[in-house]
């Protein structure tokens, strides 16, 4: 009788374990997208400060801003709009760059936030929030300064 109860307990616990494990697995598999605009920013910087940090010490800036799981720091970057273009996905790309700077910050919007770009034009001073995907650097093979990149952007003022 005692043995039967023990088996019953073990059976229930095993089922519960499988169920809970399945839930955790399913939840992580169906992890909702990272909502960059709802999360708070890790850093507030100007476009010049951000590019200078990378150009001065690439390794230090890389470890500061880029995460090891690719979900890198969320930044609010302020700068002068130097160019407005569109990528092959139809997302707006706003380059924040001062005329005196060697490199700028390419901010890629999403289909949901594209409309915000209609309100700005070249020369405006704006603050854009997004997640950083790469820093600025001088590329010896390209022989140009490569701009930093932010994805999932929106204008916050």
């Amino acid at each position: 009788m005692k043995r039967k109860k023990l088996f019953q307990k073990m059976f229930i616990m095993t089922i519960a374990g499988i169920f809970m494990g399945g839930c955790v697995g399913l939840q992580s598999y169906l992890l909702p997208d990272r909502d960059v605009q709802k999360l708070s920013a890790d850093y507030q910087v100007t476009a010049s400060e951000l590019t200078s940090e990378f150009l001065d010490d690439l390794d230090k800036a890389r470890l500061k801003y880029l995460s090891d799981d690719g979900e890198s720091e969320i930044l609010e970057v302020t700068g002068s709009v130097s160019r407005i273009s569109e990528n092959f996905k139809g997302e707006k790309v706003v380059l924040l760059k001062n005329d005196d700077d060697k490199a700028g910050v390419n901010c890629t919007f999403t289909h949901e936030t594209n409309h915000s770009v209609n309100a700005i034009e070249v020369g405006d001073l704006v603050t854009i929030k997004g997640e950083i995907v790469s820093g600025a650097y001088y590329d010896e093979d390209l022989e140009i300064f490569v701009n930093a990149s932010l994805n999932k952007c929106d204008i916050i003022n």
Binding site: L31, L63, D69, G70, K89, T108, V133, S134
Partner: protein, 216 residues
């Protein structure tokens, strides 16, 4: 004095000025022609310097596609920068690895992690090469040209030699380049022998590159 120096073969060595009288209408005319010749030569040099111009692309799409019986996985990157030097055929691509977007967030996280692409340590992949059949491509004339690129591809800090085919399309000032090639992950130190990655990620993935260039 003037005519003597102009007649001196050591000075300029201009054939016309040596054989023609200089203090004449023809002499003046020929000196003008001389200046014109110099101007034409310099404008020619200027034009060839322009041919040497570099094209820069910040508008691109790089896709990779992995297919196994278990599942198909693809990712897209719109953040790459590339240049083509139309004078010597040098081509370079710099691809920020954290710019790859997946359908599933978990997959994207795995892709970036140390045991996969380790994108914090190796934030860019790069392709550096030369168009070997540059003579077959006329960057000043509209058309679609086959291109052969030989060079080196670096992913996760590992460099391998590559030779791939692509096309270059010239449409006025706008030049686009396209290529599809295979990359064997194990060649770049990305290898899985067991578990889900081994069964769900193909050993060889298909990479599609599409870039639009503007003159610098």
């Amino acid at each position: 004095m003037k005519s003597k120096s102009l007649r001196n073969p050591g000075n300029y060595g201009n054939f016309f000025l040596r054989v023609m009288p200089v203090n004449s209408y023809y002499g003046t005319l020929l000196r003008s022609i001389n200046i014109l010749v110099v101007l034409i030569v310099f404008s020619g040099l200027y034009a060839s310097a322009q041919d040497d111009a570099r094209l820069v692309s910040e508008k691109s799409h790089i896709r990779f596609f992995s297919s196994t019986p278990a599942e198909d996985i693809e990712a897209h990157n719109y953040s790459a920068t590339s240049t083509i030097n139309t004078g010597n055929g040098n081509v370079a691509f710099s691809v920020p690895m954290q710019g790859f977007e997946f359908d599933k967030r978990l997959m994207q996280r795995h892709f970036n992690q140390e045991r996969f692409l380790d994108t914090q340590q190796f934030p860019t992949a790069r392709l550096v090469g030369t168009i070997t059949n540059l003579d077959a491509i006329d960057f000043s004339s509209n058309g679609k040209y086959d291109a052969i690129i030989e060079g080196e591809l670096t992913i996760k800090g590992v460099t391998n030699k590559i030779s791939e085919k692509g096309t270059v399309t010239v449409n006025g000032n706008r030049v686009t380049a396209e290529s599809v090639f295979d990359v064997t992950l194990a060649d770049y130190g990305v290898e899985f022998t067991s578990g889900r990655p081994a069964s769900n990620i193909a050993g060889t993935i298909e990479v599609t590159v599409h870039a639009e260039y503007q003159p610098q």
